[in-house]
């Protein structure tokens, strides 16, 4: 097309057909399914003014739910950081019967519908459930408390860490470790000074993915959470409650607040990683 040639290099010339149809379909579909709906999420919280937005998101019940969603997501991802690294290590380094089966099982939380995981966890951790009944005599209640929320988020997040770390551990040069050992490094020194720095970026990636997923998680949490206002109500549930009262602006406000907070948290994680890497290089 003539006008595209007159513009300075918006696209490199190519002999292949289909640029314009592919561009047209891709951009239209993206706009219809993602961009226009998200525009509504960004625009609608302000329709009763900025003060109303602030009023909604600083409501004690909303604040409590945001604190729970982000706090539990952070804690669950931190637990999975440790357990995911151990799991990935075992799967990569050790040869044992059933290794491939366990490796495949790591992906179950990706594939299992959240509602299914949700009712299974609620049943397991209820006071009369297989695990809940072990803790009930100790006076520890898991299901229908914030602890239940944490358990659900832990169950959902593990594969993100394992799948991020696994390829790095696999490619880690075995000779470097052997060299460290022959040079007299103790096992712990090898882990801390050779292996951990190598997997750190992958751990951060996995943590971010698990965290982002956990913050917005709904299906696997609501059955076990008990959903008590101020105590075990997660932020996505607050959106649904606002909607059930036909408060569209309120629902959009909570949604937008979640997005902004997630963005800030992920930005902080990435900046933290950059600073960490720079310190390591010095």
């Amino acid at each position: 097309m003539a006008f595209s040639l007159s513009l300075p290099r918006l696209r490199e010339p190519s002999v292949l057909p289909g640029f314009w149809p592919a561009l047209g379909f891709t951009v239209s579909y993206l706009s219809l399914i993602v961009l226009i709906p998200l525009a509504a999420l960004i625009a609608r919280p302000w329709e009763h003014g900025g003060a109303e937005f602030l009023h909604t998101v600083t409501d004690p019940r909303v604040l409590a739910s945001l604190r729970l969603s982000f706090g539990a997501a952070f804690l669950a991802s931190a637990i999975n950081l440790v357990m995911g690294l151990i799991t990935a290590w075992a799967l990569v380094r050790y040869d044992f019967p059933g290794r491939r089966l366990l490796d495949a099982a790591v992906d179950v939380p990706f594939a299992l519908p959240t509602a299914v995981a949700g009712i299974a966890l609620a049943t397991l951790y209820a006071p009369n459930g297989w695990i809940g009944s072990l803790f009930a005599p100790l006076g520890v209640k898991i299901a229908y408390t914030p602890l239940g929320v944490l358990i659900a988020l832990v169950a959902v997040g593990l594969p993100f860490i394992v799948r991020s770390v696994q390829p790095v551990l696999q490619d880690l040069d075995a000779e470097v470790e052997e060299a460290a050992r022959t040079l007299g490094a103790r096992r712990w020194q090898t882990i801390r000074q050779v292996i951990l720095p190598a997997v750190a970026p992958a751990l951060v990636t996995g943590f971010s993915l698990a965290f982002a997923r956990a913050v917005g998680e709904y299906g696997s949490v609501i059955f076990i959470a008990g959903n008590m206002p101020m105590k075990s109500e997660i932020a996505p549930l607050l959106i649904i409650i606002e909607l059930s009262q036909f408060n569209y602006a309120g629902a959009a406000s909570v949604g937008l607040a979640m997005l902004i907070l997630s963005f800030i948290a992920l930005l902080a994680i990435n900046i933290g990683q950059l600073l960490f890497l720079r310190r390591g290089k010095r």
Binding site: L16, P37, M83, Y94, P109, A115, L158
Partner: protein, 280 residues
């Protein structure tokens, strides 16, 4: 350079291995086992009775109808986006890639909410739809839109890295030899990406059938009409009808396991023909 190979555990290694196995058993296998144990708690007859319920059958049918439309649409988008990104150089490619991945970072509830903000009774287009007599929220269309948004990146993100790695050389050669656009796609591109496409479609389909949060916002929970399989599980569970809830859940869990088995098989047999990033 030599990559590490797995060795027989010894000494402290048993501790690490034990912790890993215990953790996987606790967080992954136990919930999975629970689904089937609870589903069969009152015997096989009670299990199968759950599928005699017309509402359960309606839910299964609705879920299949939603996936039947959402998966092909997102597959078409994935092919189109991957063709565009891998075969051409143009300004704004990075932004496009970021936007394609965006739905992965949305809470499912937000992926449902946005459609209510557009098409609900007090949505931007609500009054207009009302005048035209078209209902989107609390109907098949709304459920479909929410499902499409949630499963949006699945096919695209399997195809894009693979097709980027393959480059445009083969297609360019085909053009030089006089092949047309259709010939190039069917005889050069598609055979190169068939397994990755299948892989993406599998994951997209599993998620489309199992999506809960997004669909729950737009469905309105009208039994027999707008309840998908996962929503029907919720309704049964909240009615204390646990056997039926877990019976329908076991169908979804079985589907997840079949998907995983197929996915694992594809990864073992065709790892060279799947993008590296596909192993997530």
């Amino acid at each position: 350079m030599r990559a590490s190979t797995p060795e027989k555990p010894k000494g402290a290694a048993w501790l690490v291995l034990g912790a890993a196995v215990l953790w996987l058993a606790l967080t992954i296998l136990l919930p999975l086992i629970t689904v089937f144990v609870e589903a069969f708690r009152q015997g096989a007859a009670a299990y199968f009775a759950a599928f005699q319920d017309p509402d359960a059958l309606a839910a299964i049918k609705l879920s299949l109808q939603v996936a039947a439309a959402a998966v092909p649409l997102n597959a078409a988008f994935g092919l189109s986006a991957a063709w565009l990104i891998s075969k051409f150089e143009f300004v704004g490619k990075g932004l496009l890639l970021t936007l394609i991945d965006l739905p992965f970072s949305l809470s499912p509830v937000i992926s449902g909410l946005v459609w209510v903000l557009l098409f609900g009774a007090s949505g931007w287009f609500g009054p207009l739809l009302d005048k035209l007599g078209i209902q989107i929220i609390f109907s098949y269309t709304g459920i479909l839109l929410a499902t499409i948004l949630v499963t949006f990146p699945f096919v695209a993100r399997e195809l894009i890295p693979l097709m980027q790695a393959q480059g445009a050389d083969e297609e360019t050669a085909a053009v030089t030899l006089g092949a047309g656009g259709g010939d190039i796609f069917w005889r050069v591109t598609l055979p190169n990406i068939a397994w990755a496409l299948l892989y993406g479609v599998l994951l997209c389909n599993a998620r489309a059938l199992g999506e809960f949060g997004a669909v729950s916002v737009v469905s309105g929970h009208i039994r027999g009409l707008t309840d998908t399989m996962p929503l029907h599980v919720e309704v049964l569970y909240n009615d204390y009808n646990f056997v039926a809830a877990f019976a329908v859940a076991s169908l979804l869990a079985g589907l997840a396991l079949v998907t995983l088995a197929a996915k694992t098989l594809l990864e073992w047999r065709f790892s060279g023909e799947l993008a590296r990033s596909a192993r997530h």
